[in-house]
Symmetry: C3
Subunit: 139 residues, 3 copies
């Protein structure tokens, strides 16, 4: 049994910027030498999300449109009223989608589908520098 952990950083544009981090995660999985276990992928912060998507412009656009309906940028957010912020919608989206997900490590490979990529969604209303931590436990 072993634990392997590595973090990396990336610059985002905010405004529901959806970034494919699948190859970053894959590289860490390969470097770990672990063959079977659980892979946790976590973005630090309260205005981002981690999920999976077929990473092509259509699916990215459909996700953005759906989130614009569920959590519109310009609705009356209590967070904005209280703090003079404009990113109440960013916090809401993050709470709904979640900032971390775990996937299986199977025979040394990330156990996700061919058309399924791990993405970081930056819901904030400005450019951000983000930290993603990948933690693998297994054999």
């Amino acid at each position: 049994m072993a634990t392997y952990q590595k973090s990396f950083r990336l610059s985002t544009k905010g405004h529901c910027h959806v970034i494919n981090i699948d190859s970053d995660v894959q590289k860490i999985v390969q470097a770990s030498g672990i063959r079977s276990g659980i892979i946790n992928v976590s973005g630090r912060g309260s205005t981002l999300g981690i999920t999976t998507l077929e990473y092509e412009p259509g699916c990215v656009s459909d996700l953005e449109r759906a989130l614009n309906a569920i959590a519109p940028p310009n609705s009356n957010y209590a967070h904005n009223a209280r703090w003079g912020d404009n990113n109440g919608y960013s916090h809401l989206r993050s709470a709904l989608i979640g900032t971390a997900k775990s996937y299986p490590l199977v025979d040394g490979q990330l156990g996700t589908g061919t058309w399924q990529q791990i993405v970081l969604c930056d819901f904030d209303d400005c450019e951000r520098d983000r930290e993603v931590t990948v933690t693998i436990v297994g054999d």
Copy 2:
């Protein structure tokens, strides 16, 4: 410390087919011999979801109705326009719900509630053959 991993397959009808996989997961948990740890349950693909539900027809129907409002089958999806597909809503639902979840293993038992079952939701628009991987790490 040990890692135990097992996959199983199941046939689904698509169209938000919600399948109770709780006993499948329970059997793998029992076979593992592990008493305390983390259980990851993951469906492979970008048009399915894994979550928990009181598995009774009312809750299943309520989930389907809510997803029909959030991600209607026949809205104008950019994924469909780009690829000639009809399952843009399936991809969207999968990104929102997530394809994998982790639960605790407590005293040799799945640490979920009596009225809480692990379900696979097949959001695709056709019948599918699905692979679910259960990974347990612990003592």
Copy 3:
């Protein structure tokens, strides 16, 4: 490698009561003595959710408002019709948000952001006594 697991209980008011359990989780992380790994936080039951939020009254209120739109308390739920219950919306919210999340343990600390707290959301329609299990695997 080690596994550390501890459960705690808390009383909730239901009706989308959002409770900051971050310090409870932090205490268990400290007690574990584990420095690097995965932390799973799981609430038992099918009418609650676990997620992260900037825990301030504005974000809490914004989350409640969004869930009132997605899963209104007084809609016509099939669960209610079938069982004479009033908490169909509670089950739906739980299935959408999820009852368990996993985060990284980095250098002996919970690897979440400064403005990001782990919360239990009790979606049920009455007061409840809840059990939360924290499971840590790592080195």
